[in-house]
Symmetry: C2
């Protein structure tokens, strides 16, 4: 498929397995490093960065940029969801506690098509974050 990724290394397999095991969750590069270190099977940080770049290109994971100074988050995309693609995950960030909430919601998905049709604006859910105050903090 991808021109870059020709080999299927042990590290790549382990990374994909791990991501598949935490569906719908956001993980950072450091999370992955810690995990693999924890189970004794250390994978180099550089390798994780490079594999993540490949996996994003291949559409296997999504990359989310929440804030300039927080590390990027990655999320495995289930195979069934490849169809609707793009990503139907929306993010809410609490301004008080910093908590990140990810929503999978049909009604929110309609925002995208509304912006598309009425305002000729193609929304990028990977970059868009709703800021506000979460349940616990108000």
């Amino acid at each position: 498929m991808a021109a870059k990724g020709k080999y299927n290394t042990k590290q790549r397999s382990e990374l994909i397995s791990y991501l598949e095991s935490v569906p719908g969750q956001h993980v950072t590069i450091s999370d992955m490093c810690d995990y693999f270190e924890g189970i004794g099977s250390g994978i180099g940080r550089t390798t994780i960065y490079r594999q993540m770049e490949r996996l994003v290109d291949e559409g296997i994971v999504n990359k989310y940029i929440i804030d300039a100074n927080s590390p990027a988050c990655f999320e495995y995309i289930k195979k069934e969801e490849h169809a609707d693609s793009e990503s139907d995950c929306f993010h809410c960030k609490c301004e008080k506690c910093g908590k990140l909430i990810h929503l999978h919601c049909d009604e929110l998905r309609m925002i995208k098509s509304h912006l598309e049709k009425r305002h000729s604006f193609t929304l990028d859910p990977l970059r868009t974050v709703f800021y506000g105050v979460c349940e616990d903090c108000r």
Copy 2:
């Protein structure tokens, strides 16, 4: 007003003046450093960072994060827009040309009440920016 910002220093005034003079444009910290260095009135980088943080808190400027590895962009918010703010105005930012689009739309306003009712999340429309690609750029 704000608890932090009590003093009105020369640097703060100059920063606000500069931002007012480039409405609708997005400028980085380095842009500002270069500008003030260019006109002989150097302002410390640290000061700019700290004043920008204050101005964002005060709702006088918006902060945009286009990409994790590019510097953050700031944009002055016109005073007329302060008035409606809160509930009426939504912002769309084009990732390609950087254009900022202001929308006044009932349907988008429903997002706020939806998030409130269904997800117990109080949206802050002033801080929230929809990222995507505008009409002209696709």
